[in-house]
Symmetry: C3
Subunit: 464 residues, 3 copies
Amino acid sequence: MERPRHQGMAKNTYLRWRLPLVCLLWEVAMIVLFGVFVRFGAEADAHWEEEKQEMNLTSDIENDFYFRYPSFQDVHVMIFVGFGFLMTFLKRYGFGAVGFNFLLAAFGIQWALLMQGWFHSFKDGKILIGVENLINADFCVGSVCIAFGAILGKTSPIQLLVMTLFQVTLFSVNEYILLNLLHVKDAGGSMTIHTFGAYFGLTVTRILYRPNLEQSKDKQGSVYHSDLFAMIGTLYLWMYWPSFNSAISDHGDAQHRSAINTYCSLAACVLTTMAFSSMLQKKGKLDMVHIQNATLAGGVAVGTSAEMMLTPYGSLIVGSISGIVSTVGYVYFTPFLESRLHIQDTCGIHNLHAMPGLIGGIVGAITAAAATEDVYGKEGFIKAFDFTGVYQTRTPSIQGGFQAAGIVVAVFASLGGPPASRPYPPRPPAHRPTRILVGGILKLPIWGDAAAENCFEDDVYWEV
Amino acid sequence: MERPRHQGMAKNTYLRWRLPLVCLLWEVAMIVLFGVFVRFGAEADAHWEEEKQEMNLTSDIENDFYFRYPSFQDVHVMIFVGFGFLMTFLKRYGFGAVGFNFLLAAFGIQWALLMQGWFHSFKDGKILIGVENLINADFCVGSVCIAFGAILGKTSPIQLLVMTLFQVTLFSVNEYILLNLLHVKDAGGSMTIHTFGAYFGLTVTRILYRPNLEQSKDKQGSVYHSDLFAMIGTLYLWMYWPSFNSAISDHGDAQHRSAINTYCSLAACVLTTMAFSSMLQKKGKLDMVHIQNATLAGGVAVGTSAEMMLTPYGSLIVGSISGIVSTVGYVYFTPFLESRLHIQDTCGIHNLHAMPGLIGGIVGAITAAAATEDVYGKEGFIKAFDFTGVYQTRTPSIQGGFQAAGIVVAVFASLGGPPASRPYPPRPPAHRPTRILVGGILKLPIWGDAAAENCFEDDVYWEV
Amino acid sequence: MERPRHQGMAKNTYLRWRLPLVCLLWEVAMIVLFGVFVRFGAEADAHWEEEKQEMNLTSDIENDFYFRYPSFQDVHVMIFVGFGFLMTFLKRYGFGAVGFNFLLAAFGIQWALLMQGWFHSFKDGKILIGVENLINADFCVGSVCIAFGAILGKTSPIQLLVMTLFQVTLFSVNEYILLNLLHVKDAGGSMTIHTFGAYFGLTVTRILYRPNLEQSKDKQGSVYHSDLFAMIGTLYLWMYWPSFNSAISDHGDAQHRSAINTYCSLAACVLTTMAFSSMLQKKGKLDMVHIQNATLAGGVAVGTSAEMMLTPYGSLIVGSISGIVSTVGYVYFTPFLESRLHIQDTCGIHNLHAMPGLIGGIVGAITAAAATEDVYGKEGFIKAFDFTGVYQTRTPSIQGGFQAAGIVVAVFASLGGPPASRPYPPRPPAHRPTRILVGGILKLPIWGDAAAENCFEDDVYWEV
């Protein structure tokens, strides 16, 4: 079945020993590392009774669990059902979409608990975890799910696990630089999750460029019911995005405000997406690809600023613009990226995550730079931007500058270094160290990826 | 494809300029109006730190966000996945069901934030919004989703947007009359949402009566998997209905009680629906239409009374009756409405929302009238019915009378005035001002609706 | 259509009078019993205002509703969408899977509120209910949904209702013995829900053994889209399992800890399941049956210990092992059970619930026995195991012993008495009183079950 055609060598997709080996060895590694490092944080530990007394808390309701658990569950649904089902639109890749997303996310959250834990929750040699760590692990894996969208249907599950290993690592480094070194605000992850995840995925799909992909063109479309399955993913992402952007904001008004801003932005985004979807199609018909994806751009684009005083009408403006940009991207940019830059982006993550993510970063920088004590209140101002300690002399305009710097860092980190000077005509794309490393490893002929004519086909890795 | 047949004129379903124009102009209008009017409420504003001190609150957990956000998200799922997927049962109208529901709801919640805001949250020239406003906007749009059920498959997306504009406006006026002028309790919206929404939708479908609809009869059925998609909608509506009915109840016991009553009512409703579905079918087989719809009547029918001391067994009784009434409605009333009153009700909203909504209003009136200080406690009694200020002299029986008046007002408002004296034989249905206005506008030949033989077909408005 | 073949008598599946009669009579019984017994608990009653003052509570947020309602809704989704859709994998039994699950669960939660209420919430002649009762009722019904998995496609809806009646009753007795008499901890129900439910279901399917089931073998498989529907069920069970295991734990750290342990266990379980699914298949391909089911074993296996100080790495270990055991079970045990023990287990509940449930019980016993004041803190230790009153002298090792005893009791209770001494060669399986009773009743030829060649076919009971 796996005849070598248009390929330098036969493709061996038999994973019987390779996939189990990787899964089991890595799970053993997780167990060992968790055993050495991971313990319950104070609010999840049985010593909490004593902790409560020390902290003078009168009620169990003050446990962070009650502030964040509902949002955590919504985020959890977005990662597993949202991203998983969004990618089931392909007619014969539903198992791979849901199943591989399940696999990489389940591995990724374990590795993210460790990586993020070392950077952010490390105390006396232990990583102390609570519900906020679970949310952050899901967030981190969200960026891998985004990258998966670019290479959907073209990689083996082992490649996805390898990519997850590298991406989670790099994500955590980038996140640490942004949040801790630059002291940037990015609660909904426009920069850390979306921009980073999307450009990382685009880099990977560029490295894994398949010149003969038109051989599986007939399988790159959808069928009627696969589009409906994808709408399950779309709607859960859309509905729960207010939880995504508010999940790790400060308690109280910040969580409340994030949810409202995101709600408004997403509502506006649906209208402009529908408008442009119809306008850009010759017969004026709506295109399911746009409805499934571009309607979500509004959530991405307020990821940084949702917890700020963006205001409801500001959110409507941002949401409207991002819906337009994203839909236009699907119609014009995606074909361009493939034909001219050899970037084959199966789900169009450049339109849904990269561009709206950049918008989100910019809107965040502007909103931060425009902040005043008048708008936030004296205490609210300090709390919103965490202008305490060494940061107490930061002004809004300086903060805006750092926010802008964060965008640049996120893009560079995702590309594995500064972009190549001449991306066209196509050349071996790995010019920078990380890119050489990740690219080199993912291109090794040992991971069991399929030949071009077998892409987008569940039959390769699944009993169908 | 769009041959004029049995129609006075050719139908032009080409929306390339019309749909974008409506979407974009209206979104611009929303941005302007939000810019002028909408601001964050105290609990979502960065000044909350100061507010907390003024209100002597010791913890962020007192923010209304933590009382209502989980319920809000459940309601949000009901509106977008619940109603959206419930209507995917048609074999070739899944995109329209989910997609148009998405479009009208996304527009509707913005317009509802404004309309309801002017009536209920207007202060010093600004509408101050918080999570409760988001819930109420979703509720308002819920009534539009209900009305959409009656005309499913027979209108263009522009008509739906126009209908949404009018319905949200009228909803808000009716809601203001009931809640503020009549001081009626209706937390789960039996009257304001279900009765109003259903009769509004039935009025619209009557106005848009299509004499030749049997031409698309083959498309009015379901296929096996479309029925399973619809069950996703059914179950999410069913499971989250306790959140729907408790979402805006008073903090504490009232929210708690609403959830319990609704849970009980819905459980009972499933059994009587199954019983009558089997009993009314010659071969004794169950009918998916009933299971998808009538099982939900129990949630509608306790919408008004759930937050009252209806008691669990009272809820079982109400749920049992509503399941029977609804199932009987599907078998006998729907065909009657179409053949005799020319009311073509695609989803049978008369059975799921109109009749159970009326039951809900009546049960609410009785439960209110039967309230005693003994049952509620002295303070609980005043709190439950808000018998303070000018209402402190109201007695339960007077409250019951006002509740009953609320039902009548809701029905009249939804019909756009008192019903025509002779609904049969069929005559031009628009006798009253609002009905003439809405009906006249929706019947304009400019909105791009399809010919009768192309109804219930996604191909008209979607790239398939 | 219902030709008698290989059967002693013709099968009559005409339910027109029987199903309605059972549904309506039982619902009337529920109404009467609820009327006599069920009232609102203090936190859902309108007297709560006074209660608050007596209990010196300063805020409505202290109402148990706000501690547990979000988890309740997640559990609710698991029961109705999780179990319902998980069982839609069969190509022509989707209506029965979702619909009958809906029916039996809707009845079961009412009966469970009564049964569990009499045992646990009975005060002055009344059952006082609140959100915790709703969760427990859903839990109880969860065990029935599990049992349904074993007999999926082979019984009539009336048989399912009869089974539900008996199983809920026996569940409540068993639960009372474990929780109250043995003072065993089992918040996530490894023993009370999973072990009990699974062995009960296996007993029932053994009693209802169908020797000619291979006549409907062609319908026992899945089709592409039915497998995707099933993945909806899988993912909702997987994602919400942290809520399941933490829903009724003590407020504060215990709920927090349960969620974290479950999250970790489930993540690990996915990797080992994928590994063994690929390893045990000749071509190394992944099998959807395993992914849909064995990935969930990690949630079952930490059901007892999740609220204890199992630690995150302990959870990873338990999750890893349970994924392996479960997958191996699907490949080797299920065929063995059918061919040698005549146990026809449609969904493989032995692999997903019975074995992981036993693991869960054992892990719970070990974790309890290993508890120390050092690990839990002095107060935390007493609170975690409720070592107060008559139990204040219990040591961890004694508690571990009681936990182990609980496993044995749960298994015996589910089998309706001690197991038969010689389960092979096959003999009439009902040796013990309960088994004779339940088995005898379910085998009565009056419930309308289908002939072997019509099993796994919606057409028998549904208008298709």
